[in-house]
């Protein structure tokens, strides 16, 4: 079973890298954005199959930090300034969301 998971992971990663750097005919920034989206796929694996609730909360928290980098790269690609504003607000909201999730997990009310 463990060997099967290893084979699936390595084949998935290898085929993704081959497709991204040899077949995909766009600029370097778009390839970087693809790598970040692939990372977000791994995080979603942990969100869906996490054994406990805390694993899912960790994954959502990490996804919030990943998306800041993604928005900065999108700001380069479209050559617009406002993506970075969205990134800052996203960081703030995801921080507050993580704290709220942690409080709920601990079993306390939000207004304590």
């Amino acid at each position: 079973m463990k060997i099967l998971r290893w084979i699936i992971g390595v084949v998935l990663l290898g085929s993704f890298l081959y497709w991204n750097f040899y077949k995909f005919e766009y600029g370097l920034i778009v390839k970087f954005i693809n790598i970040l989206l692939f990372c977000a796929l791994y995080v979603l694996y942990r969100v869906i199959l996490g054994p406990t609730a805390a694993d899912r909360i960790v994954a959502v928290d990490i996804l919030g930090v990943l998306i800041i980098g993604l928005l900065a790269l999108l700001g380069i690609y479209y050559d617009k300034q406002f993506f970075i504003d969205i990134g800052l607000i996203w960081a703030l909201m995801s921080f507050i969301a993580s704290l709220a999730f942690a409080k709920i997990l601990e079993g306390r009310n939000l207004d304590e």
Binding site: R46, T52, A54
Partner: protein, 115 residues
């Protein structure tokens, strides 16, 4: 691609992406929630800060963009606090540690207080 600052910025963005990927790999591979939280918080925070710094250099110093530096400071301040809150909440709600764990002082001390 001809300017020097664009090349340096792309190198920084590449480093940040590598560390992001390692952090996410740690999130998938490590055994329990505390180890996952450690690997993911360290690597993804550093990687995202690397990407933001790379974008800051890539844009050149013509339009000097302080928002990216503010973003770096912000994620370095908030990510450890969120990790601390989640770890504490997970331990208090009784999520077990991995079977490789050698010592757990926190649980022992809490049991002493309750007695």
């Amino acid at each position: 691609m001809n300017n020097l600052h664009e090349i340096i910025g792309l190198v920084f963005i590449g480093f940040g992406l590598c560390f992001d990927f390692f952090g996410v790999l740690g999130l998938v591979r490590l055994p329990d929630v505390y180890n996952r939280l450690q690997a993911a918080t360290k690597c993804v925070t550093f990687g995202s800060a690397g990407i933001l710094f790379g974008v800051f250099i890539y844009k050149g110093f013509a339009d000097f963009d302080f928002k990216l530096l503010l973003g770096i400071v912000f994620i370095f301040l908030t990510a450890p606090v969120a990790a601390h809150a989640i770890a504490r909440a997970a331990h208090r709600s009784g999520i077990p540690l991995a079977k490789e764990t050698v010592i757990d002082c926190y649980k022992d001390d809490n049991e002493l207080k309750e007695k």
